[in-house]
Symmetry: C2
Subunit: 409 residues, 2 copies
């Protein structure tokens, strides 16, 4: 241990490795209980070793023993089965927006124990802290988990987040709001490691986990604001901290980033506000259209997509324009990253196939390997789910006594 080199050591290290190996095997088969014989097979260890490790993990509370119940009708003495004791280290995820606070509690196996959401019409910074505290307590009560049991918490914030200090740039969504206060506040409530990350990053993590497997994922969050998260083989790519900020891609040949504006060119061009504005203009220009009929004065982003889905040519024109702008902006990144899949989430994702097909057509003209283009299946829960996921990863990395062989040069 220590020194950053390969972790070697005595036999006690070996025992820790083997215990970790057993625990990892249990974790991999998620909520399904495992028999000891199966663990022997999966770990390649001898039965006494596994049995000892299981005993130890049972004592430490990481595993729980199942009765030999169920239709396990096989010959011989029934095997005792063990599974992860989720309550051993539950985690908490937090998604804070100016109008909505969402808190999720998950157990070690990734099962959701609680999900509480509260909306309000714009809180002040001080009120928001109070609401957060309430919602956290509500979620803990629903999950039947005492606050001191929570092993890790992750909060989502829009904007560019410094992974360590928790400082946030570029987002004055609530006046007087500071993510540092948020971290402090949550630390005061929970007494466990509390981390902060970009909401698009967390959503990407959740989507990647849901899709499973390896490969590169580009997960776009498309609403009023526009961001993306990159997950490569299960690990989040952060760059120097601002990776995935697709909202700031230039769309016009003369666009530059305005440091005084918290929104970027692409956000201004195809954010949900811009889509609604384009729709309103198109409705004014074509008063006879289905679009004008549907939307009226209060024309909304949803109206544009609804009219386009009904094959209104005016709305379809707007969608085409939006898709084209978006695809042209994203194409260079798709070429460079060459992702396995591009997943679109956020409010605009509700547009569905109308938008997706238009983007796909454009993207096909501009890329070499065409990635799968999908809509996020997680909808609005993506960010909280990702926050819980990251908290889980943190717990596993900290608790699994894996003396990580750093083979990176």
């Amino acid at each position: 241990m220590s020194k950053g080199t390969v972790g070697g050591g005595g036999t006690t290290m070996l025992r820790r490795i083997n215990v970790a190996s057993v625990l990892d095997a249990v974790r991999r088969s998620a909520p399904a209980p495992l028999r000891v014989a199966e663990l022997v097979e999966r770990t390649g260890l001898a039965r006494p070793t596994v049995a000892q490790a299981v005993d130890e993990l049972l004592d430490a509370g990481w595993l729980q023993q199942h009765g030999p119940d169920s239709a396990d009708r096989s010959l011989g003495r029934p095997a005792i089965r063990v599974s992860l004791r989720g309550r051993a280290a539950p985690v908490l995820g937090l998604d804070v927006g100016p109008h909505r606070v969402t808190v999720g509690v998950s157990d070690l196996a990734g099962r959701k124990l609680a999900l509480v959401r509260r909306s309000g019409p714009g809180w002040t910074a001080q009120e928001l802290l109070g609401v957060i505290g309430e919602v956290i307590n509500e979620a803990l009560a629903e999950a039947e988990v005492p606050a001191e049991d929570i092993a890790a918490a992750v909060a989502a914030s829009p904007g560019i987040v410094d992974e360590h200090t928790g400082r946030v740039q570029l987002v004055p969504s609530v006046p007087g709001w500071s993510a540092i206060d948020l971290i402090k506040h949550v630390r005061g409530l929970l007494d466990c490691p509390v981390m902060l990350d970009n909401d698009a990053n967390l959503a990407a993590l959740a989507i990647a986990a849901a899709r499973g497997g390896t490969g590169t994922l580009l997960a776009v969050q498309w609403g009023e604001r526009l961001g993306a998260g990159i997950v490569i083989d299960g690990r989040l790519h952060r760059g120097t901290g601002a990776a995935g900020e697709i909202g700031f891609i230039a769309t016009d040949t003369d666009d530059v980033i305005n440091p005084d504006d918290s929104r970027g060119p692409l956000e201004r061009a195809v954010g949900s506000e811009a889509i609604a504005a384009l729709g309103r203009q198109a409705a004014l220009d074509n008063p006879q259209s289905r679009l004008a009929e549907l939307g009226g004065e209060q024309l909304d982003t949803a109206d544009v997509f609804a009219a386009a889905a009904e094959r209104d040519p005016v709305a379809q024109g707007v969608v085409q324009q939006v898709a084209r702008t978006f695809a042209r902006a994203l194409a260079p990144s798709v070429l460079v990253l060459d992702p396995t899949a591009v997943v679109i989430g956020g409010g605009v994702a509700r547009a569905g196939a109308v938008l997706l097909d238009a983007i796909s057509d454009q993207l096909r003209l501009l890329t070499l390997n065409h990635p799968k283009l999908e809509l996020s299946a997680l909808a609005e829960d993506a960010v909280v789910t990702g926050a819980m996921r990251m908290a889980l990863d943190e717990v596993w990395q900290r608790k699994l006594p894996t003396p990580a062989m750093t083979s990176t040069t």
Copy 2:
């Protein structure tokens, strides 16, 4: 072992881990010999353990013993020192282009043992295979390494390379040329693992290794063709296989990728050929300019940059235009990847500060975190160096008995 889970096992596994730990510590201090006491400190193991491991590694030929020579004037019994025995597993790198073949041989510690380059005015595919064989043998002779000692070889190829099959798309640089034949041919000569990768990827690997440390690197190879390699924390990012193909980024709002053309829009716009063409046109339009004077009829890419360096406004205009087009094409990828550094290599990199400053100015307007913009220090050796580097990584990964704890979910 086996089963893809965490590698645990008996005490013999522990011994292997500790031996690997010692070997890794020696490797980290590269060519400098280490005393046993230093190894004890770095590995955290006890002295007898280290001594035993060193004995074993000496017997196996991985380490060599140094005399207690040199001005090591300290008190007490002089320590025996050991270092990597580079000759234990030398590797070979191969860079094949239509007009040039380069072969490098490196030892385990990364020391270059030989570097042989041969140019010719366009070979046929058949001739090329012959030349490759000759150059390989020449390099082996220069390095004084018998062919059967080579532990791994990596060949560089332009175009998009399938990592496993070795099939190449999009590059008909030599008529009748197939990278599969190349692999077969080299396998016939060497009898060791032979791998193939994109030349831009390998150059990126070399540059990342030279820079050292962690972070994200975007390494652009800019010549007649345009490609890039991405290295994240020392690992190459491949995507689904075509990552980094910046040559195919669209530059005009109506550009699309033409599947029949092996070159992409950005290559056609700012490749060295295009720069020369722009220069010629500018010279025609401004016959009095220094640019026209320098270049004449045979105006070259180098002439454009030379004239710009002499502050010729006509040439500077061309450079500005090229820099602007390049920066606008690359900016989205820089935003999304948010790399620590962007390094430019290849023929155009010889332009130096004139081009770099112009790109930097443009990029500053279009990105949030401005990465360091640098010229490659490795010049034309980057690709071979990267090939050797990848071969070395392969050897280490294969030979180091690290039971890789896969902590990725």
